[in-house]
Symmetry: C2
Subunit: 436 residues, 2 copies
């Protein structure tokens, strides 16, 4: 199949993001899969509304059933949410022999068993990476990457709204209600925030994670969930005093007695990476018996992070449709003839800030010299520490963090600095990576 | 194929771990893939040596070529390392039509292009998840999970030995040489530590990551690498004063001029998760244009973490061999008929520590009452804060972290505490998750 025709149900935040990613990265995606993905049809509530994506070349309709019944659609992408109409549409698509990609956690958590059985019978794929933790490929990590393991437990921050609220409460000393109002204004929280703050959204996701981790059926009705509405500023502060952070966790654990399946606020020791996942970000720790603990972190919501998972699922579908089973995934991720000839840069062509440690005779004039040498190359000093001399009147360390600079220019500056009479020995240089 | 026969080249740490994981998790793996994996052959240097794994039922030989040429071996797992004999064995296996799984980063980084071309021609798979970052499924995450993205950059701590040394230098104020000697004694560092401390091992891994991220050929010869031997205790401390940590990073970045490909020590702002990855653990941050930053963290080496990735690759091979292309991976990770009936536990059957906030009249006797009530249920007090009264003589908060307790018993204790005359209102209870 050289052209894969995609029908998108719903062109809101995630639908629009999906169209944008498919358009912007069309060439990159074709280099990976050797064929073209095209959104040919999309359903919307209101044909006249402004959209975040270009809709040129897409047949728009207000009738989602027209898409799932359309003979020229190969893959249906369900992004309308909810578990009633969405279910009916997905069931119809499967009955029509179409592959389905969905970001709908409620649909999968509540109706996955029925949907998967039908898909198996009809020989189509139903993929749902975007349903849990947005752009983090956590379903793939557990279902494929950790397939050698007995999973012992997993714990995750899997609702960005709740984590944003708890982070603001801690960082700024604000109260729950106050932050919730802001989150609603920013669009992080719905007008009715129940699903987020009471742990229902996280519960849908945890239900899915527990099923794929332990090999148990989807059992949302057995989930224990407790929200964050009762967390007060005092609790946040007392937890801090005791060396903990409060997070809203989804936890699934296999015990000899059965499976724990629970969403509730929890104190986590502040040294854990999970305790340091802040704002709208998500993270999941998975404990496997062979691998030990692994952690997956990233944006759990938003237009393009969610679209990232939706499009990866479409690509998985296409790799399977087009399977020469021996070569589903190219060795180096891209088709061999599509590898690019980008040059690898010499190290002196990188541009980063630098840490410099310069040992100087205890001489005040040297700072002016250092500043002049660096600024003649367009390099500024962002931070400076001058230590006391080791012993009276002898050498002293000057430590500098520079602005970003071309390494070639920095090399030149260092050579000049080392030539100064007041500088002793060589300049120690370590690159700074802000990872921003 | 109901039985997949595996030939393992090398039964050392990773080979022994692979056999142990396949044995221990045989039932779990069959529930996932619907067939049986069996190590039928293994090559060793010395037949008489003691091993970390049971070798019953495995035909042992000192002749690795006998295995890659054996008609009854379906998948060859190469775990002998190095890039000369290993290359010859892998090439022979591929020529014999056998699928190959390897943990050998040098082999892939240096000879991957040739190996993949031959494998493509012969129609076999070559998988190498274990070659980078041990048990973390980072190859799968980039090659499949993030396939919708243009990858902009990635940065990782991908050598556990080097990270162990830097962590000890920071935590304990020790010098490089001193920690290296200990790492060698602990088995974290080789007798010749050059590959680890000079960034060559990390360079092999970065070469592979850059290729799959950007769709460029493997180009180890273009890599810039700088070791950690010149990092002194002073640098570690100055970095700390400036708000940074020093880590040995592998960085690959796509720029308009070309690809940066470099391994060197770097200062990272201490707030970044990557700055807080300590000891022998690995982590990789990947920045995609759609998803933004995602991070993958876990054990980068060791017998069973590496075996976790090796066995996951074997499972991927088998899913492809056995592909009904529509159903390579079960929806819920396990075959539907193999889903288990483990009960979901009621919330009062979990066992965790608890944070309790109890508001009491300012009365010293209450602490004895609280202690007695909890200890009558076998619950100890691990930490306690008693705050000053809000105003003279009025109510005061007592905060307790308990020992681990069955929630049912804690519920009972809370009911008793709330009945005390000196206790005001209800007891606030939040669960503690140590994630240990």
């Amino acid at each position: 199949m050289d052209l894969v025709r995609i029908g998108v149900l719903g062109l809101g935040t995630v639908g629009g993001g999906t169209v944008n990613v498919l358009n912007r990265n069309a060439e990159e995606i074709t280099r990976r899969i050797g064929c073209t993905l095209k959104v040919t049809h999309a359903s919307v509530k209101d044909l006249s509304r402004n959209r975040i994506c270009d809709t040129a070349g897409i047949e728009l309709t207000t009738d989602s059933f027209a898409i799932v019944n359309h003979k020229d659609v190969d893959v249906v992408v369900e992004l309308i949410g909810g578990d009633t109409l969405a279910k009916e549409l997905v069931i119809t698509a499967i009955n029509n022999g179409k592959h389905v990609v969905t970001a709908n956690k409620a649909l999968i958590a509540l109706h996955g068993t029925e949907i998967f059985a039908l898909a198996q019978e009809k020989g189509v794929m139903v993929l749902f990476e975007a349903a849990v933790a947005g752009g983090i490929p956590i379903i793939k990590a557990i279902r494929e990457g950790l397939s050698a393991n007995k999973i012992e437990w997993l714990a995750g921050i899997i609702n960005g709204t709740g984590n944003f609220i708890l982070t603001e409460m801690r960082d700024k000393g604000r109260d729950f209600a106050d932050v919730l109002t802001e989150a609603q204004a920013l669009g992080y929280a719905e007008a009715d925030p129940t699903f987020d703050v009471e742990g229902i959204d996280a519960g849908h996701k945890l239900t899915i994670l527990a099923a794929i981790a332990f090999g148990i059926p989807l059992q949302f009705e057995q989930l224990y969930h407790e929200g964050i509405t009762q967390i007060s500023q005092q609790d946040v502060q007392y937890a801090e005093e005791l060396g903990y952070r409060i997070k809203h966790l989804g936890i699934a654990r296999k015990t000899d007695q059965g499976i724990e399946l629970r969403v509730h606020p929890a104190l986590i020791p502040e040294k854990r990476l999970l305790a340091n996942v802040d704002g709208v970000l998500n993270a999941v720790v998975v404990q496997g018996d062979a691998v030990g603990p692994t952690l997956y972190y990233g944006p759990g919501a938003g237009a393009e992070p969610t679209a990232s998972a939706v499009v990866a699922d479409i690509i998985d579908v296409v790799r399977n449709i087009n399977a020469d089973p021996q070569h589903l995934i190219p060795y180096l991720s891209f088709q061999t003839p599509a590898l690019s000839a980008d040059p690898i840069l010499p190290i002196n062509q990188i541009v980063v800030p630098y840490y410099l440690r310069i040992t100087v005779a205890d001489n005040l004039g040297v700072l002016a010299d250092l500043t002049n040498i660096l600024s003649s190359q367009g390099i500024n000093i962002e931070a400076l520490i001058q230590k006391e001399p080791y012993t009276e009147g002898t050498e002293v360390d000057v430590i500098i963090i520079t602005s970003k600079a071309l390494e070639e220019k920095l090399d030149h500056s260092i050579a000049q600095i080392e030539n100064l009479d007041t500088v002793i020995g060589t300049v120690k240089r370590i690159r700074v990576e802000t990872l921003g």
